[in-house]
């Protein structure tokens, strides 16, 4: 108890290790985040072991079993088991598609953030560190990116490139990098005036070394928060694009496309649309909870405001 109180004392924690620890302590107390972490962990397990868990092949059709009610036994040639959640309009097993759908959602969530990181961090760091013309050019381009509503921009790109998962990564990266660049630029602007950066420069360190070794590690908190909150955004974008027929190509099972598939059969088989939406909601919620917890942990001042 006493140690905790000392840790929260107004003395500024300049040692990054110490900041990390107190951030972790704050994060641990944020119970909804821990629930979020458990949910994400389970989702990752489901995605990785999908072939072992799924009762059937998610693409296998059985047209005699279209829109089967939950609990209907599988056709004989599929072996034992049943359509636990029913089947869709092509007689595919809903549960199996739901399980495989988690792969696309998580993959898109993570890879889109990787693309955003690999474009946004260098550009933001360069803009912030060097300033001047480079900064102006990069930030003007970023402004233009912000001028498009996200989904509309993604729709335009996906239309131009055509549906497909690689194109989806490109589209979400192009749409999202500007936000990351802005964030990193702001951090670098603040941090480059710090004494230890001056010291490193005085000692003859090169610019890229200073950026990578001295500046970025101290900007890690906000970047991690932004990535965590960006994952659900990407998952939602993928779902929306797939729902509009502009995401991953069918017959790949994705939650957004499953909702689209079920839309025409709401009366006969409402579950086909309802269930994948619940999956999206739980996944997005889990990441949002973790992101909120991380934000509060890294920036206690923001916590007071909220």
């Amino acid at each position: 108890m006493a140690a905790e109180k000392l840790g929260a004392a107004p003395a500024p924690a300049t040692d990054p290790e110490k900041t990390k620890q107190t951030a972790w302590n704050r994060f641990k107390k944020h119970k909804p985040s821990l629930v979020g972490i458990v949910v994400i962990f389970v989702l990752i397990l489901v995605a990785v072991f999908a072939p072992l868990i799924a009762p059937a092949d998610p693409a296998k059709q059985e047209l005699f079993m279209r829109l089967a009610k939950p609990g209907t036994p599988f056709p004989e040639q599929w072996g034992s088991g049943s359509f636990i959640l029913g089947s869709d309009y092509l007689g595919r097993d809903l549960l199996s598609r739901l399980i495989y759908g988690s792969r696309i959602s998580l993959l898109v969530g993570f890879v889109a953030q990787l693309v955003i990181l690999s474009i946004g961090v260098p550009l933001g760091a360069i803009a912030g560190y060097y300033g001047g013309k480079v900064d102006k050019v990069i930030m003007r381009i970023a402004d233009i990116m912000f001028a498009f509503p996200d989904l509309l921009f993604a729709i335009g790109i996906m239309f131009a490139l055509g549906a497909g998962i690689i194109n989806l990564f490109i589209a979400l990266g192009v749409v999202g990098w500007a936000g990351m660049a802005r964030l990193v630029r702001g951090q670098v602007l603040q941090l480059k005036e710090r004494d230890y950066v001056e010291a490193a420069r005085g000692a003859g360190a090169r610019d890229w070394w200073i950026i990578i070794r001295h500046i970025l590690p101290n900007a890690l908190g906000p970047i991690i928060v932004s990535v965590t909150l960006g994952i659900p955004g990407a998952i939602m974008s993928e779902a929306s694009l797939s729902f509009l027929g502009l995401g991953v190509r069918p017959p790949t099972a994705t939650w957004g496309a499953m909702i689209l598939d079920g839309q025409s059969y709401l009366r006969r088989a409402p579950l086909v649309s309802v269930i994948p939406g619940i999956a999206i909601m739980i996944t997005v919620l889990a990441f949002n909870l973790v992101g909120d917890g991380l934000r509060d942990a890294f920036d206690p001042r923001a916590n007071k405001k909220a």
């Binding site: 929306s240 909702i259 009366r267 994948p276 997005v284």
Partner: protein
């Protein structure tokens, strides 16, 4: 004041140029040749060449772009591949629908979001606060097109209270506006709560209370008035989401607005129509953000200094 407005408007010009350039590149450069892409299966090479020539697509891209911007500036967005009618006319025809949807959704959002946010702030950490937090987070985490389908399922199919799709009168707007609005009500409730909590700690609120102003007046007159200022930004930020949300909502409910126009154009690979609707939506978004900035500076004079 006027100087600020002029400066803000001028700053928008490069952004608008960038927006038009990106739209042009997406529709004309990335996919190769739009005419070939659209008519490949329906026309022979000679016809394609003739259409290309008529549309001026055999000229250098720079000239095409300049002409595209020049024409767009006077409201000429070319003719639809599909209906052969001017794109601008179709947009003008669809605009009132989207306007009605956006306006009614925003009203729903404010009518639900602000009272919930205030209630949550006044009873911080009570069950009202927690329930409102859980509800808002769930709504933020669910895809709007899925909420739309659930609403159709419950209020259209099962209870038969409201029409499920199409537009023949205001009653057709009830479900779409509530669905789209509830999504933003969630964001607005969150921000209102945060903003309200901050304001309630301010000196002038304490002064008002100290001098014996009735609690009801303190909250609704002194606190809420000031708490609503940051909400302007939220409305501006969420406006893009509202625009793209209306694309998804319109497509689920079959409302003949700009969003459905865009989606139909995508299905038919109607390039001029997509180019027109994407450009139009992006320009509206830019202008809306400008308007928010300017109105913000009217409400809060400190902004102008920055």
């Amino acid at each position: 004041m006027l100087a600020y407005i002029v400066r803000r408007l001028l700053a928008g010009i490069p952004v608008l140029i960038g927006v038009s350039l990106i739209t042009f590149i997406l529709m004309n450069v990335v996919p190769g040749d739009p005419v070939t892409a659209a008519f490949e299966k329906r026309a022979d090479l000679e016809t394609i060449a003739r259409i290309r020539h008529e549309m001026g697509l055999d000229r250098p891209l720079v000239i095409q772009y300049v002409e595209f911007v020049g024409k767009a500036a006077v409201g000429n967005l070319g003719n639809s591949f599909r209906s052969r009618l001017p794109v601008a006319d179709s947009i003008a025809g669809a605009l009132p629908m989207t306007g009605r949807l956006a306006a009614s959704a925003m009203s729903v959002a404010l009518l639900i979001g602000v009272p919930f946010g205030v209630a949550a702030a006044l009873r911080k950490n009570s069950w009202v606060d927690y329930m409102s937090a859980v509800t808002t987070l769930s709504f933020i985490s669910a895809p709007v097109f899925w909420i739309a389908i659930i609403a159709q399922l419950i209020f259209g199919l099962t209870l038969d209270l409201f029409p499920m799709s199409g537009y023949e009168g205001p009653i057709y707007l009830v479900l779409p506006a509530t669905v789209l609005g509830s999504r933003y009500a969630a964001s607005i409730a969150r921000y209102t709560r945060a903003s309200m909590l901050e304001v309630l700690n301010q000196d002038y609120v304490r002064t008002a209370r100290a001098k014996g102003v009735a609690e009801r007046l303190v909250i609704w007159k002194h606190a809420l008035k000031n708490a609503l200022v940051p909400l302007l930004t939220v409305i501006g930020l969420e406006f893009g989401g509202l625009l793209t949300g209306s694309i998804l909502t319109e497509s689920v409910f079959g409302l003949p607005g700009i969003g459905r126009l865009t989606i139909q154009a995508i299905q038919y690979r109607d390039f001029p129509m997509i180019e027109g609707t994407v450009l139009f939506t992006a320009v509206v978004f830019v202008l809306a953000n400008m308007l928010v900035d300017i109105s913000y500076s009217l409400v809060d004079p400190r902004i102008r200094m920055a």
